[in-house]
């Protein structure tokens, strides 16, 4: 669903420095429109970001750091890192496999497959969690079997990883498919004809060609994996120190009116968002350079 947004690598062409006269708006129009746009962004985007850090440091740096002494906070950070460390590589491998099959071969049902890959973007996060409860929950399809074998998925770490994998499912594939489509398969054909085997072709020809798109997809995928709230909220069970990811820990602290700690943990996530945006811009810039 966010395909139009996700596959925006090619968006940022440099503006033409000289505008023809017919496209030139009077200075007062330019100034007022630019001001209005910047005010809107400042109000809706910058203000919330600033609020996170202001609230986090409201009682000074000591109170801020205290939030990270809490073993539950540390456990939530570890769980978030673990979840991303499983979900992101899984979707990375999937993204490459899906893009390879879709862009290098012809088969029937290709466009249906491409649409189905996008499906998780169209599903509400809450529903993304719910469907796993229906499969693995106590009353779910596999519930009694799992209980008989003493395997916990829902209200445990595997459920959190699964729900996160679901919501971040399309990110890498969505970047790679249009990119590899535009590159075609000629270079791979050449490599095979010259005697390379499949893996050599992939590692030495395809991968260098797609590395920026791949990195771009991984950055977006990782940001969503670490920040997901709705889907993991449904499957986590909110057991402190065990099944709380960072966003869930923020919620618990906030609901306990422990605002400084809530915003302190939130500030780490906000920092992650800022790093994501910086990396994303760098990759776009590198990509534009290597593409031209």
């Amino acid at each position: 669903m966010a395909s139009a947004v996700a596959s925006s690598l090619s968006v940022h062409a440099a503006p033409k420095s000289t505008m023809p006269l017919a496209r030139h708006d009077p200075a007062w129009v330019r100034w007022s429109l630019t001001t209005a746009a910047l005010l809107f962004l400042a109000f809706f985007v910058l203000l919330p970001l600033a609020a996170v850090f202001t609230e986090a440091f409201r009682r000074g740096i000591g109170a801020y750091l205290l939030a990270f002494r809490d073993p539950d906070a540390i456990a939530s950070i570890k769980l978030t890192l673990l979840t991303a460390a499983i979900a992101v590589p899984a979707n990375l491998v999937f993204g490459i496999a899906a893009a390879w099959s879709i862009t290098k071969f012809n088969f029937r049902g290709k466009s249906l497959l491409t649409t189905l890959i996008d499906l998780p973007f169209a599903v509400s996060p809450v529903i993304s969690g719910l469907v796993y409860v229906l499969v693995f929950g106590l009353q779910g399809w596999l519930g009694s079997w799992l209980q008989a074998h003493d395997i916990k998925i829902i209200f445990a770490v595997p459920g959190i990883v699964l729900a996160t994998t679901f919501v971040t499912f399309p990110f890498v594939a969505r970047e790679l498919i249009p990119l590899m489509q535009s590159q075609g398969a000629d270079e791979e054909y050449a490599a095979i004809t010259l005697g390379a085997n499949g893996w050599q072709t992939f590692w030495r020809v395809t991968l260098p060609n797609i590395k920026w798109g791949l990195l771009y997809g991984v950055i977006l995928c990782n940001a969503r994996a670490m920040g997901e709230f709705g889907a993991v909220s449904v499957v986590s069970g909110h057991i402190r120190g065990e099944t709380n990811t960072m966003p869930l820990h923020v919620e618990i602290l906030y609901n306990e009116y422990n605002l400084v700690s809530a915003f302190a943990v939130a500030s780490l996530l906000a920092l992650l968002a800022i790093i994501t945006l910086v990396l994303k811009s760098l990759v776009e810039w590198r990509y534009a350079k290597s593409g031209s």
Binding site: M1, A2, A4, V5, S8, V11, A13, P20, A22, R23, D25, P26, L33, A37, L41, V45, L46, L47, P48, L49, A51, V52, V93, A97, S101, K104, F105, F107, L113, L116, I117, D118, L119, A122, V123, S124, V126, I127, L130, Y132, V133, L134, G140, L162, T165, A185, T193, G198, F202, G227, G230, S233, V234, F263, A266, L269, L272, A273, T276, L277
Partner: protein, 277 residues
């Protein structure tokens, strides 16, 4: 299956990559999603309508659809403005501002939720100025609208930007040389050209807003019949162990999402055809 064409391909790995793709897609996405539909298929029609059309659920549809629509419209207007300024008017710091547009994607929804609540509550940066005038944002429908506007912001900008960049200067020059003033060129030439992308962006923002949960639950206050969004009701029913009720509402929301997805795909096809002419 056009096996003839496949066997002619020299490249290896078709079976492996497609097999893995289908297995992974099936296990992670399709089987779990089908569980929701199968669970609901087992309900009687009476139980189903009871679950999805009770007054409390109907109130949540009204809020979710209304606030998503309002947020989508505001984003369509300001998204057009932001995209236009970013593409047409170079100004210092343009790259930073451009990157900032994606913040609502990158910022975890729960963080956005508590930050917006802090800003718009009684003592917050904005709330303290609005409250004396009798305007309450946090814990009202307006708060839901504000959160959904934040979350949908990048969609319109990011769908419009490439279209604006590819807009050929000739059509504006032609329009100007035929005697149109700037406003006429804008409303009769540029806007119609942008319309498909604008609608696509609006539809994407609207669809995202319908399912949004994290950024809304903190600011909405979650009062039954007044400020409960539909995804929240799914969670509420789950917490009461009403799995059937939760799933029934989820299916309604899923069907709406799939219709939106179809509509967006059609819009994108239309916009592509539009631009080939």
């Amino acid at each position: 299956m056009s096996t003839a064409r496949i066997s002619r391909s020299v490249l290896p790995g078709f079976g492996l990559s497609l097999g893995f793709t289908l297995a992974y897609l099936g296990l992670i996405v399709l089987v779990p999603l089908s569980a929701a539909f199968l669970k609901t298929a087992g309900m009687s029609w009476h139980d189903f309508t009871d679950a999805v059309a009770s007054p409390r659920v109907l109130a949540s549809y009204r809020l979710s659809f209304g606030a998503s629509l309002a947020a989508g419209l505001v984003n369509a207007f300001f998204g057009l403005l932001v995209a236009w300024v970013l593409v047409r008017y170079p100004f210092p710091g343009r790259r930073v501002v451009d990157a900032l547009v994606d913040l609502p994607f990158a910022l975890p929804t729960a963080v956005a939720g508590i930050a917006l609540t802090a800003i718009y509550s009684k003592n917050g940066w904005v709330g303290q100025w609005l409250e004396p005038h009798g305007i309450k944002v946090a814990f009202t429908e307006i708060g839901v609208f504000v959160a959904l506007t934040f979350i949908g912001l990048p969609f319109v900008v990011r769908t419009l930007q490439p279209v604006l960049e590819e807009l050929e200067p000739e059509i504006e020059e032609a329009s100007a040389s035929l005697g149109a003033n700037r406003w006429q060129t804008m409303s009769r030439v540029i806007l119609p050209e942008l319309l498909p992308a604008l609608l696509t962006g609006f539809a994407l923002a609207f669809a995202r807003a319908l399912g949004e949960y994290g950024s809304v639950v903190f600011i909405s206050g979650n009062m039954p019949m007044r400020t409960e969004i539909t995804p929240l009701l799914i969670i509420t029913k789950l917490e009461q162990y009403d799995y059937r009720g939760a799933t029934a509402i989820a299916v309604v929301l899923l069907i709406v999402s799939f219709v939106m997805l179809l509509l967006i795909n059609l819009l994108q096809k239309w916009s592509r055809r539009f631009h080939r002419i």
